[in-house]
Symmetry: C2
Subunit: 221 residues, 2 copies
């Protein structure tokens, strides 16, 4: 049965700043969905490796995308590869009166688990369609879908969202009482991520094709 929260485990339990950690599925889902990319860590020959990957969440499954030739995906051919997937939103710079209390406002999801290669053609096809629509909502109706050969050349990893935590910081700097009268400006500089700029048509685009609404209307966060 699905509850509203993920159950904390030894490695998702907070080691400090308890108040910043949560396990709510809503918070986790929103942060995963807002991100265009995630960072995927795995162990290769005993050493850690972390690489960026595109992802899409479908319910309680996170699909990761890559080429079958990519390092992370080759590793995955060992079925059940241990991964840690992290998504981070940098929401602002926290400028305190003391150097020590400088910080960042952020939202971060960390998911642990075993990644499995998606082998079922239908699940793979659907995952890739979801991926295209996660990155650009509405896009999958305006492209040529994958051929059998292209599907074979694309690796999709599946991570079930079970061991997941959410960590965040928001709001004003937390200066010490005795620093409040210092003559320094303190506050937050909010940041926006992934702000779209003017679309750049492909140089070989057939003339007369206008920029579609799913591109001009794209936004995140």
């Amino acid at each position: 049965m699905t509850t509203d929260s993920y159950a904390p485990t030894t490695r998702t339990a907070p080691t400090r700043l308890r108040e910043r950690v949560a396990y709510d599925r809503d918070l986790v889902h929103a942060a995963l969905d807002e991100a265009v990319l995630c960072h995927v860590a795995f162990v290769d020959d005993g050493a850690p490796v972390v690489l960026p990957q595109l992802h899409v969440r479908v319910g309680e499954v996170l699909y990761l995308h890559g080429s079958t030739g990519a390092r992370a995906m080759r590793g995955s051919l060992v079925d059940g590869l241990d991964v840690c997937v992290t998504v981070t939103h940098l929401d602002g710079l926290v400028l305190a009166r003391s150097a020590f209390h400088h910080s960042a406002n952020y939202r971060c999801v960390v998911a642990h688990g075993k990644a499995h290669l998606v082998t079922d053609p239908t699940e793979k096809d659907e995952a890739l369609r979801h991926l295209v629509d996660a990155i650009v909502p509405g896009r999958s109706d305006h492209v040529r879908g994958p051929s059998r050969r292209e599907l074979a050349a694309t690796a999709v990893l599946r991570l079930d969202l079970e061991e997941v935590s959410y960590k965040s910081r928001a709001g004003a700097p937390g200066d010490d009482e005795e620093d409040l009268d210092l003559p320094w400006w303190a506050g937050v500089l909010p940041l926006r991520q992934s702000v779209p700029q003017a679309p750049v048509p492909a140089p070989d685009l057939t003339s007369g094709i206008e920029v579609p609404a799913h591109v001009t209307g794209w936004s995140r966060g």
Copy 2:
């Protein structure tokens, strides 16, 4: 002797798409310096963990910042912890005529090595000053510097930049010849990251302190 490039190793050599990989120090430095945060992976009890951290590059050294209580930093107390530090800039969404050729424009730095806890007080003090100024240039002259107690509560990890690679994609979609006449718009939607919004003064800010130029003029990328 320092050369203009990092020497490729087994794990930084490309496994595919060779043309996207580089080892130029200039490219690596610029991408590290533009990023406010990085993702640090390490192995904890045999499993991978990746967490966001603030960083600053000083020459060929990357300093990572955290609390002494944080999981990544506790691990680091084992001197010489293997880490992988990755910085990713998402520069744009690449929208091709085929789903298969959808991609992202990005710049990504991956650095491997052993992280060491900075114990020398002078190096630590300087690293933290560099860190504040890396995040907000000019800020370190407008704050109260760290006390001895605060310095002790702050952990700084040092990673020498030796095994480093740079990977990127830029430019238009790479559609297949036979798809060029399809009736779908193709091109790139450029994205800007960390776009500053209006500064938010701390609620308890002493009245009369104006937002300083190092805040109003902040920009990245």
